[in-house]
Symmetry: D2
Subunit: 159 residues, 4 copies
């Protein structure tokens, strides 16, 4: 299995009044992992092998943007606050014409033994032309870069 | 169809750098709608007919808590910032032993013509005993209160 | 005293693991109150008398934007979650060339007896030209609209 | 000058519709830096030299908690999104009986040349007994641990 491993730091502010990472904060952590996986960094040394999009869009100024069309998430265990980053594992369940299904598994920090899987999730991301607001085709270059990271999509247990 | 209508105010801070309500902020809005639908208010006049849980848990001090086991959401149109509250419509897709499937449709403000459906979502909520951390049965009183609000669950279009 | 009263709803998600509205969430509530006080609404009926800025900027598209240059806040009592909106009272402590000092007091809901003052805060807001990024002068029209709402600035007790 | 340097990652979700780290998100980043500076980690290797509080409080279960009594912040330059962590520098402006003034300067990532100072801030933190809700004295051990990190408090330019 070829997955991208993205370390993502929790914040104490992600906890809610029940003392665990809030269920919506989990999606915030996945958002950040997605950004780090697919957007090019100012620092090429600090960049995921799947990074294909130009970072200018990140501040609202790009020619293309990625919109989320759907999300699905299963929470398997409460996530505590801890300093070490979560190990968010990302792969692609499907690459479509103008969209892709991003799959995630959120694990306790790299090196914890055993690693606990806290959550499994998927998001359908659509590439959109910011001028027209319409879907725009993923380039062949993007497809080739992503090809090694295509795996079985998640089979959600409790659908 | 018997649904509970919960008006939920957006905040400008819910927008992201693309200028629309962020996809994770949408789940924050649903969280608030769920709270208002199912938790008793200090003010009985300002309380949904489906409110069944004691508010003490809301600040972390209750005997039972509700945990989210899974969530699914389809985004149908970008949500702009506006002062008027969204019309979040809630019903129950299923009532289980210790859990329930909460269904949502998020509409533009009550009275907008036509009302735009921005998103459709569902969440499986599990009632948990805070002392043991284990699921605990929904009481008959809860079931009776909720019975009129059971409807067909959402058929997600893009699964 | 002439103040603008802006009702602002808390969200359960504003609480942190200590079970009270988080100190940074308080500033999120003030941000929303400021937006509602100073930006024009799509619905003229639902608009504060101090609203002077065109709403297009709110989604990142305007010719002017308001930046925050400084903020100061004193927390007087923990803020619990409650359905009823807080009564955020706003006035102007000073109107400068391209900036203004916005003063806030955050009270328990209108009609609570006695109303508890939870926090006092001020923010220096600077009007900026989005093309050049430089401060731009508040118009005479803005000054006239705001004049009735100028009051003594807050004297912070614990500086 | 003896300061603690805490690396804090931004998230794309910290940006607002103007495309910069939101002014309230800056305080969220400071909150996380404060946590990492003063709370003990599960991993002693990953712990600031100023860490003195037991982490159990972080999830709402401790005997003492720290409350924020006041905050002040000056924003010097807009903060863009970038993968590398900000260099948040922390010191103590004053140690009182049951409280301390935490001072912060937020810089662009360690190693950037020159490092840009984005913001300067201070927070008064009060140690509170969670059973009684009343201030409780900082121990001699805490005072000794913190003594090397006491420096001049920030002189805010625009007060």
């Amino acid at each position: 299995m070829t997955r991208v491993h993205i370390p993502i730091h929790r914040r104490w502010g992600d906890l809610d009044a029940l003392g665990h990472v809030n269920n919506t904060s989990m999606l915030k952590l996945l958002e950040e992992a997605r950004l780090r996986a697919f957007w090019r960094s100012a620092d090429p040394q600090d960049q995921a092998p799947t990074a294909v999009f130009d970072a200018s869009v990140l501040e609202g100024g790009g020619a293309v943007a990625t919109l989320i069309a759907r999300q699905e998430i299963e929470y398997l265990a409460p996530v505590p606050y801890e300093h070490k980053p979560l190990d968010v594992q990302i792969w692609l369940g499907r690459i479509g014409g103008a969209s892709a299904e991003v799959c995630y598994e959120v694990y306790s920090p790299f090196g914890s033994d055993p690693q606990v899987c806290y959550a499994r999730a998927s998001a359908v991301v659509v590439l959109v032309d910011t001028a027209t607001g319409r879907p725009t085709r993923l380039s062949d270059e993007v497809r080739e870069t992503w090809a090694p990271y295509v795996e079985e999509p998640i089979s959600f247990a409790r659908r």
